[in-house]
Symmetry: C2
Subunit: 200 residues, 2 copies
Amino acid sequence: MSLPHAILTALLEQPSSGLELTRRFDRSIGFFWSATHQQIYRELGRLETTGLIRALPQSGPVRGQKKEYEVLPAGRAELARWTGAEDDPRPIRDPLLLRLRAAAVVGTAGLDAELRRHLDLHRAQLAHYEAIGRRDFPAGEGDGADPLQYAVLRAGVGLESFWVRWLAETVESLPPAPALPPAPGPAAGVRSVEGSENPS
Amino acid sequence: MSLPHAILTALLEQPSSGLELTRRFDRSIGFFWSATHQQIYRELGRLETTGLIRALPQSGPVRGQKKEYEVLPAGRAELARWTGAEDDPRPIRDPLLLRLRAAAVVGTAGLDAELRRHLDLHRAQLAHYEAIGRRDFPAGEGDGADPLQYAVLRAGVGLESFWVRWLAETVESLPPAPALPPAPGPAAGVRSVEGSENPS
DNA sequence: AGGTACATGTAACATGTTACATGATTCC
DNA sequence: GGAATCATGTAACATGTTACATGTACCT
């Protein structure tokens, strides 16, 4: 239930049309909550129906014409409520960790290259965030900048730094290329990993 | 498309029934890929239909009786393929970061308590992972333990450590309690944040 | 006979993804 | 008038969530 609130936030920062929102979800807000234009148009329709936003009056034809939205008082109230409400952190949900675990059973073929590829991608993303930091917070946190905006950027930098560090360590720790483990016939030899449920 | 592969991995580690899988998705595998029992039963049905797993023969009634599954060769092959395939890392998707950004617009009421609550939760989760590490990897990475399993645990520890650090810093950096910003009428006063699209 | 834990499922809905459809505007 | 870009949308499907339904086994 975060997409409507992401849109409310974006519209409060700057009233926009669907396509403008889509572009901003490819940059700023999209760095921690991405959405496609289909999702955005669908959600704009719902938010308008429920009276949290409204489309600014238009003249002339509608189809194919830009449609700007602004947040109504009810929308601002809902966003404020949501911001302070209790909502537990989502558990980790990462396909790469799942693949490492699968590799422990079916072999590490292709995994090394994939880890190096991810390492490069995370390094690039980290460099991107650091560039944003230099641009928007040249003096660090101490200056007049919004501590909330700065905290969000720090989270991006911190998470990407973690992945870069972890991937570098993991690539190191991986054996050169045994590629395939016992690789048994139909459901034999499975017992080798039994009992090592981990983490648990 | 990760749930079927999570189930294949779990079944290769240990042939199980739906409920047994559900329990393991509350512990070991669930720490980085959670799933409810409804998802698991639905997916078991699909995997059986597509010939990646099969139910072990049963005698007597079926409804309400345990049904064990094992992975077929096609399932093992599919899991090995997926493990080494290219799949980009998912972008960050975190409601808490979204709420920080929303708070920059609608005010920080309730946010401080929520951050402290998350801090406690992440500290508990970190302690949990560290306990698992002491239990399953007493000698660190150097011993005979599977480096893949150890890498997965290190990821859990590293991510939780990051959140603990970041939340502690962020709670510190937050102003005591201005609670509400200008709080204008319908869509006025919004200009104060304009142009500070961040990160972007 | 009733309660609890075990065990498998259905149904309805919310959210996210992928592919495609349509009209308006601008430039050549 | 054709291509590219801007702009809004539909449709179909995959995945995840929530609530509920049903039967078995065991204990008291």
